[in-house]
């Protein structure tokens, strides 16, 4: 069975034809919708480089069947920046040198973005836990941690790690 899949990606209504419904959302995004931000490294949920939001929930796009994405909302790394202005997480990755070859970056940026939506000022253990499903072979992770700390401090300048921000809704 070959089907048509309608899915909203980064706020835009998209349509793909001739889709094999057992192919992954990752394949759909990259090969049919021309969005190569999410990367394909393992296709088995181990590396996190394909991380995207599905209906606001952080997932590995390689583990979602294209048919399951029908009618859903997807947000990829391409949808984080506001026009030419990078998301604070992206900006922090650039400034701290958290990007080397860059292959892991899109997945890590989306995972860090999700963390900061849930926790205003995450502690280091919280950051490590939130990024445990994203592998990087280049940086040794230190600069990635630094990037997340920087982005968190900019989003919530008042708070300290481990503290919920005052008056800020989550």
């Amino acid at each position: 069975m070959i089907v048509r899949v309608n899915v909203t990606v980064n706020g835009e209504q998209c349509q793909a034809d001739d889709v094999w419904p057992g192919e992954s959302l990752l394949y759909l995004l990259r090969e049919r919708l021309g969005l190569p931000g999410a990367k394909n490294a393992c296709e088995q949920g181990e590396c996190g480089s394909c991380t995207v939001y599905l209906d606001g929930v952080l997932v590995c796009a390689c583990l979602v069947a294209a048919g399951q994405a029908q009618g859903r909302q997807v947000r990829t790394v391409e949808g984080l920046a506001d026009g030419a202005e990078l998301d604070p997480v992206q900006q922090a990755f650039v400034e701290t040198g958290a990007v080397q070859c860059g292959f892991c970056t899109p997945g890590l940026v989306v995972a860090a973005h999700d963390l900061l939506n849930r926790v205003d000022r995450p502690t280091d253990p919280e950051i490590r836990e939130a990024l445990a499903g994203n592998l990087c072979r280049c940086t040794g992770y230190e600069k990635i941690l630094e990037a997340v700390r920087l982005a968190a401090s900019r989003r919530n300048p008042g708070g300290r790690p481990g503290e919920a921000a005052e008056g800020e809704s989550r």
Binding site: M1, G22, E43, V57, C62, L63, E129
Partner: protein, 293 residues
């Protein structure tokens, strides 16, 4: 390949009855790996994500009825205090991305001997609610696992929910792996105190063809605690009791040598995990001040 997207449980069961060979897909964290690597080419996929009944949990008397597709993340966030053992196991599963999608129904469907929820379901006397157009069967977890990746479901059945007793009694889960995240268990142990029944539940994972209860260890510890009046007036446990419990849990295993560890290592590690989980659970029990109850 057909892709079936039922939007109610009744529709899903009708589809499964018509096409018993259709493979259910919930979070997809097991199924999609098999599809991506061409290990499986089912004639149909049956998507359970749009069946709202399966993604809810409710309180039913003394039990939680946990819908099959409720994610690990939701179990941790919403049921951590009522189902402490299951939430502990859920916290050790994969990564945030995996926990956001993976479900207990999927863990049961895959029935891997290494699945992390199985020892907890066994130790806590959980019951699997299997449904089909023919009706409902309540299958105790202890009768659900039949062999390596084989379970007691009939071809036309789906898991609707799992029923677990609500408890404030201590429960523990521990697993051995090569790092702290994203590991398949080398071996695992779950322990549940059932003070109201004067009994202990203990089970192990990843160390036999199926997850299984450690029956001799359960009987030994239950008798030991009962005979010495420990449920109503708990005291620190003698080291000899803790050691013997560990030995009996290890003896319940039938481990193999594989890439993750040798049989001898698994036996050794199981005894360690059993002693630790018992120490932790008993300390909790002492702290909660159950004396005189």
């Amino acid at each position: 390949m057909d892709f079936l997207s039922p939007t109610s449980l009744a529709e899903a069961l009708a589809a499964k009855a018509r096409q018993p060979e259709a493979v259910p897909i919930a979070g997809g964290t097991d199924v999609m790996v098999e599809l991506n690597f061409d290990q499986r080419r089912p004639s149909a996929l049956l998507d359970l994500n749009r069946v709202a009944e399966l993604s809810e949990w409710t309180v039913a008397g003394e039990h939680i009825r946990l819908g099959a597709t409720v994610s690990y993340t939701r179990i941790i966030d919403e049921l951590g205090t009522r189902l402490p053992g299951l939430a502990m196991a859920a916290r050790t599963v994969g990564s945030p991305q995996i926990r956001n999608r993976g479900s207990v129904g999927g863990n049961l469907g895959a029935a891997s001997p290494a699945g992390d929820t199985h020892p907890v379901l066994l130790a806590t006397d959980a019951v699997v609610e299997a449904v089909s157009v023919r009706g409902t069967r309540m299958i105790p977890a202890s009768e659900f696992y039949l062999g390596v990746k084989r379970n007691a479901l009939a071809a036309d059945e789906l898991i609707a929910a799992v029923h677990l007793p609500i408890t404030s009694a201590p429960q523990q889960f521990a697993k051995v792996g090569t790092r702290n995240a994203m590991v398949i268990a080398v071996c695992s142990v779950a322990l549940a105190l059932h003070p109201e029944q004067g009994r202990v539940g203990a089970a192990l994972g990843s160390a036999a063809p199926t997850p299984r209860r450690a029956l001799a260890a359960e009987a030994f510890l239950s008798a030991e605690l009962g005979d010495t009046g420990q449920w109503s007036a708990p005291r620190p446990l003698p080291g000899s009791v803790v050691t013997r419990f560990g030995e009996l849990v290890a003896q319940a295993a039938e481990p193999i040598d594989d890439v993750r560890g040798s049989a001898a290592y698994r036996r050794h590690a199981l005894a360690v995990l059993a002693r630790r989980t018992l120490d932790w659970a008993w300390q909790d029990y002492l702290r909660a001040g159950h004396g005189g109850e």
